[in-house]
């Protein structure tokens, strides 16, 4: 029920955002996404403007989804539960992209998005800690793509074969600079090096976070400088700019 035209009840807000009512209550308690209470102990309502802002900033939505302590399925529009769904959406992305970009550039952008997205499936198949699959959103006008997963993260994956890895920072560096795979003895491990080559050669931008480590890769950071953040994420979050 709308109290006034600017407020939306929690059930409706949950549907709009594609999350559960419990998730919204939790976000409210943790001040991650706050509600408006009408009267003492009254029901929760949400400002329409807050919902619009929340939905439009899909980078923030992806980050929140990847970092939340409790897993939930994201909005169906951006959710690729299986690899088949991701492939279909990637094909749609490529066909839209090629209308706006030079074909060889479009091809490289889709290739790096495909590598990053499929990497999540390759390394978490059968081992997803809670929510299966990835978040995949893009804006052709902003020239930005976001991919996220709630998987095991790079450190856990690579530690299976490189047992001396001690932190996320090291693991992220190895993933982008060495040919090593968490799926030994299979011959793998080129994917993120390929991504790095394209991003640095073509002056694209890549933000990539796993655990408490992140990198901002571009033509000026071809050496892969890894930084740390206090915002921990078990899985991975990637933003590609072109």
């Amino acid at each position: 029920m709308n109290i006034d035209s600017g407020l939306v009840a929690i059930g409706r807000a949950a549907k709009i955002l594609g999350v559960s009512i419990d998730t919204l209550r939790r976000w409210d308690k943790s001040a991650k996404f706050t509600s408006v209470r009408i009267g003492v102990g009254g029901n929760r309502y949400y400002r329409r403007s807050d919902l619009d802002l929340f939905m439009n900033d899909w980078f923030a939505v992806a980050k929140r989804w990847a970092m939340d302590a409790v897993g939930y399925e994201p909005s169906p529009e951006y959710y690729c539960r299986t690899r088949d769904v991701f492939q279909a959406r990637l094909e749609n992305f490529q066909s839209s992209l090629v209308k706006n970009q030079e074909p060889n550039l479009a091809s490289l952008i889709s290739a790096i998005v495909g590598e990053i997205g499929n990497n999540s499936f390759d390394h978490n198949l059968g081992n997803w800690p809670d929510i299966l699959g990835i978040y995949f959103a893009y804006s052709l006008s902003e020239k930005r793509i976001v991919l996220a997963d709630r998987g095991l993260g790079i450190l856990t994956t690579l530690k299976k074969v490189k047992t001396d890895l001690i932190n996320h920072k090291e693991a992220l560096k190895v993933a982008f600079t060495e040919t090593v795979s968490g799926r030994f003895p299979e011959s793998r491990g080129n994917g993120l090096k390929f991504v790095r080559n394209i991003v640095t050669q073509k002056s694209f931008g890549l933000f990539f976070q796993t655990g408490d480590a992140f990198l901002n890769l571009d033509a000026n950071n071809a050496d892969v400088k890894i930084e740390e953040t206090s915002e921990f994420m078990r899985g991975c979050l990637a933003v590609v700019k072109y």
Binding site: R83, Q87, L90, E91, Q94, V98, P103, N104, L105, S107, L108, S110, A111, G114, E115, N118, F121, D122, S187, R188, N190, G191, K193, F194, N197, I198
Partner: protein, 91 residues
């Protein structure tokens, strides 16, 4: 023998898809005669990743070695994928 990769699709991205493509095509390779050359044609490929290429091309190269030629490899993602897999010498 000519293998037209666009018969597997034009956006060749994931490892399972590359592996499945090779396994599905494997029986056809039984028809290759001794010393016959195998041309792998990339014409029409829009997007290729090293993951797909690794799963399809490396088993093919392991089986037929220098008899494999890679043709029409101008697409930028094809060029970069072959480069990172060190398969340029087969072009």
């Amino acid at each position: 023998m000519l293998i037209k990769l666009n018969k597997f699709g034009t956006i060749l991205v994931s490892r399972p898809a590359g592996k499945e493509a090779y396994l599905a095509f494997r029986p056809t390779l039984n028809r290759v005669k001794a010393n016959e050359v195998i041309d792998v044609d990339f014409d029409g490929i829009e997007v290729l990743t090293p993951s797909w290429a690794d799963e399809f091309l490396n088993p093919l190269l392991a089986a037929f070695k220098s008899r494999v030629n890679l043709k029409n490899t101008q697409n930028s993602s094809v060029v970069e994928s072959l480069k990172i897999l060190n398969l340029n010498k087969f072009v």
